[in-house]
Structure formats: C-alpha cells, structure tokens
C-alpha cells in the first residue's frame, strides 16, 4: 500500500489520470510489472490492470449498480453481445460479499448514499480484476468510522496481492494506512519514505516545503455578543425530493464561530442554502438580528447582512465566464457607487476590483481576466473579499477551504478568525473535523438532516464527534 501525499494542486490527481490513461504524458515513460507501457486510452490502462476510484465518482446515476460495474467491460462475461442481467448481478453480489462491500446490485445509483457509491466504484475496479487500484482522496466523504471500514477493505485487497495507491493530503491517515509514502510538491516527487519511520511533522515539512504548525487549536474564547442568527425548526427538501433538513435549530452570536460537522450529504449544504434563501424552507424560520427572513429570497438575506461562501465556488460563488471585476460587484451592482439609476459605472467597478486584487493579494493579470482562470485559492479570496465588503453580520461558510493548498487554507482561516473578532457570527460547515476543531467555538453535528448533538469545541473529541456523525446516540 503506497500513499501519494501532497497538497491540493501538487499534481496527485493529474499523475493518476496519466496512470489511468485519461491524460497523455508530455514526456517520460511508465513501467508496469517490468514492462514499458504506453496508454492511449483508459481502456488500455484497465486492460493492463490499473483502475482508479475518482474523487468525483464516475457513475451513471440512472443505471443500477450491476450495470455500472459491467460498463465498458469486454472480457469474458463482457464478450457476449447480449446483456445477462441475472448473471452480472450474481457476480457482483459474490464479489461484494468476498470483500465485505455491502451494496444491492439492483439498486440505482441515485438512490445510494455517498459511501455506498464509493463501494460501487471499488467493486468496478475489482470486477475489472485490477491489480493496481488508485483511490483518490477516498476518505473525504466518509465518517471516521466508515473510513476505518474502508481501510479494512483496502487491507484485504492488499492481502490478496493487489497494489493500492492511496492519494491523500491528510497526514495521519497516510501514516495509518500506507507502507510507503511518496510526497509530491508542485508536480514533482520530492521524497519516498517508509511510513513507519515518518512522523506527521516530517511529512508535512516535505509536503509544504517548510515547517508548518499542525494541530493548532483554538485556545482563547472570543468575546461573544448578542445572537445574530437564529435558526428555528428549519426544514427543507433535497433536489430530487424527500427531506434534506429536518427541524434544525441553531443560534449563533456575534463574534462566535459555530461549526457544523458531518459526513458529506447529510443535509449541511442544504441547510446553508436554506438559511441564505437559495432553497425553499418547508418549515421553520431564520432570523437575523431578530428579524425573520423571507423564505426563499436570497436578496432579503443579502440586504439583512447575511454573507455566504458557497461550497460550489466556481458556478455559484462566482460566474466563471465573467471577469474578476464583474464578480467583485456581483452583489453590490444594484446600488451606488457601482451603478447609478439603471446604468453601470464601469470606472468604479474597475477601481473596486483593483482595490480587492491589491488588498487581498489576488494573483491575476488584471480585473478583466475571466474568473475560471483563477486558481482555487485566489478565487476564494475574491469571494471572501466580496462577501466581507458588504459589512455582514452573519457569514455562512460552506467548505470554504475545500481544494485549497496549505497557504490558501491558512489565509481563509485567518480571514474567518478576523471576521469573528470583528463581531461577525460565523456558521462554518466543513467535512474536515480538524478544521472545525481548530476554528469553532461550538460544534453541531448533522446526521440525516438533523442536528444530532452539540458540543463545546474545547471539550469535544474526534471519537465522540465521529460517533455522532455516524448517527450514534448522543451520549450526553
């Protein structure tokens, strides 16, 4: 079991996409089982025995599990022209049983939880009889307990004689699972070390290229003010129907950071969207400084002082095809000084954008550059700059550091702490427990759309929170 460790943007995913034939290398060669190979397509890589579980699953959602597993297969069972659903289902079931991957072969993908979908991806690789399996950030969507179960499966596969390449940026995880670790930095392999001999600190230094503080923890509590955001018995539906958020109540005071922990897909995103008015609440109210917001009206939330850093940066947080300047004024275009009457004032917009670029150190060649060309970290700076420029009283931040490199994460964290010290109440939604533990004053855990427990951040432990995230009973 080999781990590929590196920051976001270090080139881990690109490297594995080359190994699986999705991208073609510009130069260099791949030697597989002692033979030089050249992949023209993913098919070649699969045939050579390399399979990958992508971070964003590559599943066909209206298909059944079994159909997804046999997709593209052209060996033995796959050679027959006709589909034999029964036979396929039986094989998939057998395989699932052997590796302890519980999924129903006849279920359709869109009915499955994220964890189940990941199992389908692993089944696909096993069905293809992959000798080398690449897992790209597999634990990002799992509870600590589910991650443990995944590690058991991985070990079973390794015991079977398969090679597992495990991509991660989490130090502890890498140390726990891997035999050897290769560290990537800015597209280069900087070292390969034995996992047993490495320490989280030495790995972090290799990964970032300098000493970093890890495990920093919030020690001093900030002064907490009046309640600024009161969420009362809020419920909302998910996109394809059915409840996503059920009767969630939360109170956030000025200057306080409340973390919402939970495994992805347990209603956190929907909760954030409902609070800021982008999703219709089916019941309950949201109050900002005591005044109830109009249901499903983002503009009312904005004018009431609710800022929002959405999970989906490129596409919701910014309009990707529009310039940085346009995105800077995305929310302030309606009034002075950005517009006067119905007309826009382009000089003002340009000045504002240049100000943001300078103050927040956004790396771009100018305000007219389309937003999609910015790196994740710089994009997030634009989003944060815009959201803070509205002088918010509440900030809802959903996975604000996802996909950022270490320095980007540090920047975002410092902005959040800064805002809290200025008296902004912050709701921080994150799947990264370490992040929540480092920043939050209080932690609420969501499971299946409900808040199943609330903890004081100073007293919370990973084990306890993990249990809550998995739907365990609240022990308090």
């Amino acid at each position: 079991m080999h781990a590929l460790l590196g920051e976001n943007g270090a080139g881990k995913t690109t490297l594995s996409n080359i190994l699986t034939g999705l991208y073609r290398p510009d130069e260099g060669e791949i030697v597989l089982f002692g033979e030089r190979v050249e992949f023209q397509s993913p098919r070649d890589a699969l045939d050579a025995g390399i399979a990958m579980v992508h971070q964003h699953f590559r599943l066909v959602s209206p298909f059944t599990v079994a159909e997804n597993v046999v997709l593209g297969d052209h060996r033995d069972a796959g050679r027959s022209f006709l589909l034999r659903p029964r036979a396929i289902e039986a094989r998939v079931e057998e395989l699932a049983r052997r590796y302890g991957l519980a999924v129903e072969p006849r279920a359709r993908i869109w009915q499955l939880s994220v964890g189940e979908q990941q199992r389908v991806e692993i089944l696909k690789a096993l069905y293809q009889n992959a000798r080398i399996l690449i897992l790209d950030e597999p634990t990002a969507v799992l509870t600590p307990q589910e991650a443990e179960a995944l590690f058991v499966t991985i070990r079973a596969m390794a015991a079977d004689g398969r090679t597992v390449i495990f991509i991660s940026h989490k130090l502890n995880e890498v140390k726990a699972v891997a035999d050897r670790v290769t560290v990537l930095r800015r597209g280069q392999s900087v070292a390969t070390v034995s996992a047993a001999e490495a320490t989280p600190r030495s790995l972090a230094a290799l990964m970032v290229g300098r000493e970093v503080e890890i495990g920093r923890r919030q020690s001093d509590r900030r002064a907490v003010g009046e309640p600024v955001l009161e969420v009362d018995e809020l419920s909302a539906d998910r996109d394809r129907g059915g409840p996503a958020v059920t009767a969630v109540s939360l109170t956030i005071c000025g200057g306080e950071i409340v973390g919402v922990a939970g495994v992805a897909g347990n209603g956190q995103r929907e909760l954030a969207e409902t609070i800021v008015g982008m999703r219709l609440a089916t019941a309950g109210t949201v109050r900002v400084q005591g005044r109830a917001l109009r249901n499903g009206d983002p503009r009312d939330a904005i004018t009431s002082g609710v800022a929002y850093v959405p999970e989906d940066r490129l596409g919701t947080g910014v309009a990707p095809g529009l310039s940085v300047a346009s995105n800077v004024v995305l929310k302030s275009y309606r009034g002075s000084p950005v517009s006067s009457g119905p007309m826009l004032r382009f000089r003002r917009i340009r000045e504002l954008a240049e100000g943001v670029i300078e103050r927040y150190d956004v790396r771009t060649s100018g305000p007219q550059v389309p937003a999609w060309q910015l790196s994740g970290g710089n994009l997030q700076k634009v989003v944060l700059a815009r959201e803070f420029s509205g002088e918010p009283v509440v900030l809802v931040a959903a996975s604000p550091t996802r996909g950022l490199d270490v320095s980007g994460i540090e920047t975002v964290h410092s902005y959040l702490l800064d805002a809290a010290s200025r008296g902004v109440g912050i709701l921080l939604i994150s799947e990264d427990l370490d992040e929540i533990l480092a920043l939050a004053d209080r932690i609420a855990v969501m499971y299946e759309g409900a808040v199943v427990g609330e903890r004081d951040a100073r007293l919370a432990t990973v084990e306890d929170l993990g249990l809550l995230m998995a739907g365990g009973e609240d022990g308090e």
């Binding site: 982008m278 596409g315 919701t316 947080g317 309009a319 095809g321 346009s326 995305l330 275009y333 007309m343």
Partner: protein
C-alpha cells in the same frame, strides 16, 4: 491533436477567423459548383453582383435583411441568457397577425398613428406568444427549446387557418377570385410604412427601426444593470440566484423582449413589404430559423447581427434575382449553410488553441 482552452483571446482572432470562415465557405461553394458541373467563379461573381453590386441590388438586400435583423436580435437577446428561444419563427408570424389586424382596424387614421399602432401590436403579439414558453420555463422548468419550437407550428397552422380555411377578418373575401385563391386582405395605404431613399439606397422604416432596436439592445446589454444580470444568469443561473437576482422575472422579461423583437419583424413584413397576410410566403422564408443562425454568426453582438443579416440577406436576394433555368435554385441555401459551418468550425480556433503534437 490536442485542443486546449485559450487563456487569452488575441483581439485579431475575432476579426480574422470570421473573414477566413467566409472565404472558406466561398471556396467550398465553388467546389460544390465544380462537382455539379457549373463554372464556379462566374456563378459566384453573379451572386455577389446580384447581392451587393448591381444597380438597386443593395436596396433589395436591405429588404431581405430587415426581417433577419429582427429575428437575429430576438435570438441574440435570449441566447445571451442561455434561453434558447427558437420560437422566433412563430413570434414573427404572431407579430404579423397582430400587426396586420391593427393596420386594417385603424384604416382612416393618420399614417404615423397607424405605424405606431402596428409597431406596438406587432411587439405585443410576439411577446405574448413568447410568454407561453417563458412561463412554462420559469415556473415548471419546462425546456423552452421544445415548447417554443412547438408553438412555431401551432402559429403557422393558425396563420394558414386564418387565410385558407376560415372567413376571418384578415382574409380577403371580396370578389370571386378571392374565394378561389384565398389571400389576406390588403392593408390600406395609411398602413404602408414610409421609406427614404439616400443616394439611390432605399431605406424602409422597418430597417431603421431594426437598427434602432439593435442600438437599444446594445445599450441595454452592455451598459445597464439589467444587462449585467442577464450576463450573470446566462453564465451561471446559480450565481445569479446567489447574488439575489430575480431569475424567474428575468426569464419572463428576456423571453418577452425576444418575442417582441421578432414580432416587430412580423409587423415590418406587413407594413414595409408584403402589405397582406401571406402564410406561404412567410413560412417559406424561414426568417425565424435563419435569425438564430444570424445571431450565432454574430456571436450575439447586436451590431454584428445587422452586418451578418445583410450578408445572408444579400445571398437570399441574389437567389431570388438569379432564379432561373441556368441558375440552380438552392445554391443560396448551400452557401448560407457553408458559411455557418465554417464559422462554427472557426469558433473553435477563437476559443481554443489547437496543437498538433503526439
């Protein structure tokens, strides 16, 4: 071959690529002519002559281009917001029906009043028809491509019904011949739109109106808050909602605006050129569908729409002029199609960089 998205689009590409595309289309058209045994250079020369150079050709071209400017603008206005209104065809018919009705009803009133009435009615007719797919899209998220397309057929059939199969107000029922060969009532003289001649170039009121609309659209889309919202929503509807924009309202407004512009094209057909409701003529002209192509070629820029409409209108006009035994009909459509194909292909070179490397 590798195709990469361009980080920067050099400005000259946006000029060179369309020009090269059009040249390539002419070369390919020449090829079609050679293959079918016609002299390519002579035929192409005749087309260009009949479209732009010969005496009075440009005036005829303006007439052919006017409806395309309207439908092109109509498509551009909606496509900019990623609203694929392909109902320009039906909205133009609707504007023609309402425009002609008002023109007939207002017989006897002073001309400027009648013009104003017809313009307002045409815009209203087109907007009303466009409101149907708009409402369905805004409130039921029904795909507007299909609904607007379906309505084209519905209105086309209504149009035929009004003239060929009923004794409607719009049908000419006077005289014996009118019963054998059904046709629309001819509009009164007061409803015949003015035109002006400058240096031998005939400029109908409709064309000037189209230019005015193009200017208005340009100001609206590139200088105002409304245009900013359209841009944002067109690029990412979620980002628009996130920014507190009223996306539903915007869908309704933009669709109706698009329909109104197409409807103006219909009113202009009645007031400027046809002076009676003529279902067959309107249907065969395919103004609405060609307008989409015009808009795409113009990359949804309102002024470019005018230029492209003149180019395609010129070809159409040449087709009419030259039609005869020695000139194969359909060549014009072939050329229009080829120009489009080449422009679409050329678009790739504007947006992407193509590298040949292995």
């Amino acid at each position: 071959m590798r195709i990469e998205r361009r980080l920067r689009q050099p400005w000259w590409l946006t000029v060179v690529v369309p020009v090269v595309s059009i040249l390539a289309a002419f070369v390919l058209s020449g090829l079609v002519l050679v293959v079918t045994g016609h002299p390519p250079l002579k035929s192409l020369h005749r087309i260009l002559d009949a479209a732009f150079i010969a005496d009075g050709a440009l005036s005829e071209t303006v007439i052919s281009a006017t409806p395309l400017v309207f439908t092109g603008l109509a498509a551009a206005v909606a496509f900019r917001m990623n609203l694929f209104n392909i109902g320009g065809e039906g909205q133009l018919y609707a504007g023609a029906i309402t425009g002609a009705t008002v023109g007939l009803l207002m017989a006897g009133s002073p001309s400027p009043l009648v013009f104003a009435g017809m313009i307002a009615a045409g815009a209203a007719g087109g907007a009303l028809l466009a409101a149907i797919p708009a409402v369905l899209r805004a409130f039921f998220s029904t795909n507007e491509i299909i609904t607007s397309l379906m309505l084209n057929y519905v209105v086309a059939l209504v149009l035929e019904y009004l003239i060929f199969d009923s004794h409607s107000y719009l049908r000419d029922t006077s005289g014996f011949e009118a019963n054998v060969f059904p046709q629309g009532k001819t509009l009164p003289d007061e409803a015949t739109w003015s035109s002006w001649t400058i240096h031998g170039l005939l400029l109908p009121l409709g064309f000037l109106l189209a230019i005015a609309v193009a200017t208005l659209v340009w100001v609206l889309y590139s200088r105002t808050r409304f245009g900013f919202e359209v841009q944002v929503i067109g690029n990412s509807a979620r980002a628009g909602r996130y920014a507190g924009m009223r996306t539903r309202r915007k869908i309704l407004v933009v669709m109706c605006l698009s329909g109104a512009i197409a409807g103006l094209g219909g009113a202009s057909q009645m007031g400027d050129f046809r002076h009676q409701l003529d279902p067959e003529g309107l249907r065969q002209a395919n103004y609405g569908y060609t307008g989409i192509v015009v808009a795409a070629l113009a990359r949804y820029n309102p002024f470019a729409v005018v230029l492209v409409a003149l180019l395609l209108g010129g070809l159409t006009n040449a087709g009419f002029t030259l039609q005869g035994a020695d000139f194969p009909a359909g060549l014009v459509g072939v050329m229009q199609g080829l120009i489009l194909f080449c422009a679409l292909g050329g678009e790739l070179f504007v947006r992407y960089r193509v590298r040949f490397a292995w």
